[in-house]
């Protein structure tokens, strides 16, 4: 249907977005690749003007052979997986609940989506200090009220704490998308099933969940992109201690704390590879779902 003219017009109109993103991707990527093959220690006086020494793959082998590498990959996957699991499961339940008739629906919705508007830095600070502080935090008061020993959250349940904070931030997003999807569900189909005496669980499993499939994939895709690069939540709360050092955070330590740009850049390349593995994996599913 599309004519030749509109095809070329389409190319022209795609161009700005594609060219900009290509530049945004390639320029830093090429610089990162370059740095990753050099000895670049700015605090020892290395700089581009003076010329960087080529060191081959030594940064790559050093980064991957460091004891911190595999645990950080594992932490990244657990954290992303944990947040996805919590937000999707609770998101589906919450979306179904909010779809029901109830008093004060508007206000309830506002309250539920509010965490999404809070800056990551602020929410990390609030959770760390006002909620999870083992002496003055609300949780510790609550625990003591019930006669329990307060939990030192960021020390004894560090990764869990960060998963909690991130889930709190992203649950509204999941709920919103899932809610829109549920609202588009044909209610007659559900009612018919109810008339036929299908139990609630079956109705959920065979009608609601398949209908939400697409929305769930999209929630997973978008959240994964954001969660892989989570930073403020870790920086503010544990600073990477107690097994909360994700790959992103490990790169941060190499670049900022150690000021070893070459090593950090090699880590950045690994992170891109990891992200793309996850992405290909996800896109296989989403790609299928986008057509369906």
């Amino acid at each position: 249907m599309a004519t030749k003219a509109s095809r070329s017009a389409a190319r022209v109109m795609m161009a700005p977005a594609v060219v900009l993103l290509l530049g945004w991707m390639l320029v830093p990527l090429i610089m990162t690749l370059w740095f990753s093959f050099t000895k670049y220690l700015p605090l020892r006086g290395d700089s581009i003007e003076r010329g960087l020494d080529w060191v081959g793959f030594s940064n790559y082998s050093r980064f991957i052979s460091s004891n911190a590498f595999w645990p950080s990959v594992q932490t990244t996957l657990i954290m992303v997986g944990g947040v996805l699991l919590i937000t999707v499961v609770l998101g589906v339940l919450l979306a179904m609940l909010l779809d029901q008739p109830l008093w004060g629906q508007g206000v309830v919705r506002i309250l539920v989506i509010a965490p999404f508007f809070v800056m990551p830095t602020v929410s990390a600070l609030v959770w760390k200090n006002m909620l999870m502080d083992p002496v003055n935090g609300i949780f510790s008061h609550l625990w003591r009220f019930f006669g329990a020993e307060p939990v030192a959250w960021l020390q004894d349940a560090s990764l869990t704490s960060i998963i909690m904070i991130a889930s709190w931030q992203w649950l509204p997003f999941a709920t919103l998308i899932l809610l829109t999807a549920i609202q588009s569900l044909d209610s007659e189909q559900l009612e018919a099933a109810e008339m036929d005496g299908a139990p609630a669980l079956k109705r959920f499993w065979f009608i609601v969940l398949p209908h939400l499939g697409r929305a769930i994939t999209i929630v997973i895709l978008i959240q994964t992109i954001f969660l892989l690069s989570i930073f403020a939540e870790i920086f503010v709360t544990t600073g990477g201690a107690f097994g909360t050092r994700t790959l992103t955070y490990l790169i941060f330590q190499r670049v900022i704390d150690s000021q070893n740009i070459g090593l950090g850049s090699a880590g950045g390349v690994y992170a891109i590879i990891l992200a793309n593995i996850v992405a290909i994996f996800l896109m296989r599913i989403v790609g299928k779902n986008l057509d369906a």
Binding site: L102, P115, F117, V118, L125, H141, L171, I222, A275
Partner: protein
Amino acid sequence: MARAVTTNRKIITTAVAWTIALILFFPIFWTILTSFKTEAQAINDPPLFFNFDWTLENYAVVQERSDYMKFLWNSIIIAGGSTILGILIAIPAAWSMAFVPSVRTKDILLWMLSTKMLPAVGVLYPISLIFVEFNLLDTRLGLIVVLMLINLPIIVWMLYTYFREIPGEILEAARMDGATLRDEILYVLTPMAVPGIASTLLLNFILAWNEAFWTLNLTAANAAPLTAFIASYSSPEGLFFAKLSAASTMAIAPILILGWFSQKQLVRGLTFGAVK
């Protein structure tokens, strides 16, 4: 009888929904509440709920120390500017993808998303060096461009999904009537997609407002937005819960209010093509 059941059910649903909503909102509520306490009251044992002397002292202290309006204004310009610029670039791209799809459309879309996976900290040095080279450090323009590029894939994707829902025949008809491509996009397509564009605007404004890595690392005094404002209150010496709460409230209040007012648009429009 049936009516009684539904009322009962509504009561239960309402109770459960409100309980969950209040729990989810509690951290924000508590922050706002604490911002009106003195530092000593903020760490009182047991915690004080409403039975304290409300004070605006913390806000006064925060305002005296940092010029809130300057940070706020920078936040508005940077988040607003990057969103608008992004939309302007994304509309034509999304149009081509939605109405002149090729075999590679989906690949391009997914590739665009994958550019978001570059870990920011890994490219801190490259980007900083580029910013220094082009004198963009601590300018709003630099941040507008960076945040636009970061969010562009999301914007393109959202618009693409809205545009796809618009029947191509309508555009076809406009073309028959002699409308140019520009007219077609400006006067036919865009007005029809207004709800979608509105929710795209909102979501990206929120994302840009809350971005805290580049806005902190590429600014100093001139272009620093609210994310930098909060970094000066995060862990000072001494008691700081109340002042931190006041600063936090000031940082999130504008976006919270905006979000609340536009909640309907956001709920209606945030689909990412999840709904057929």
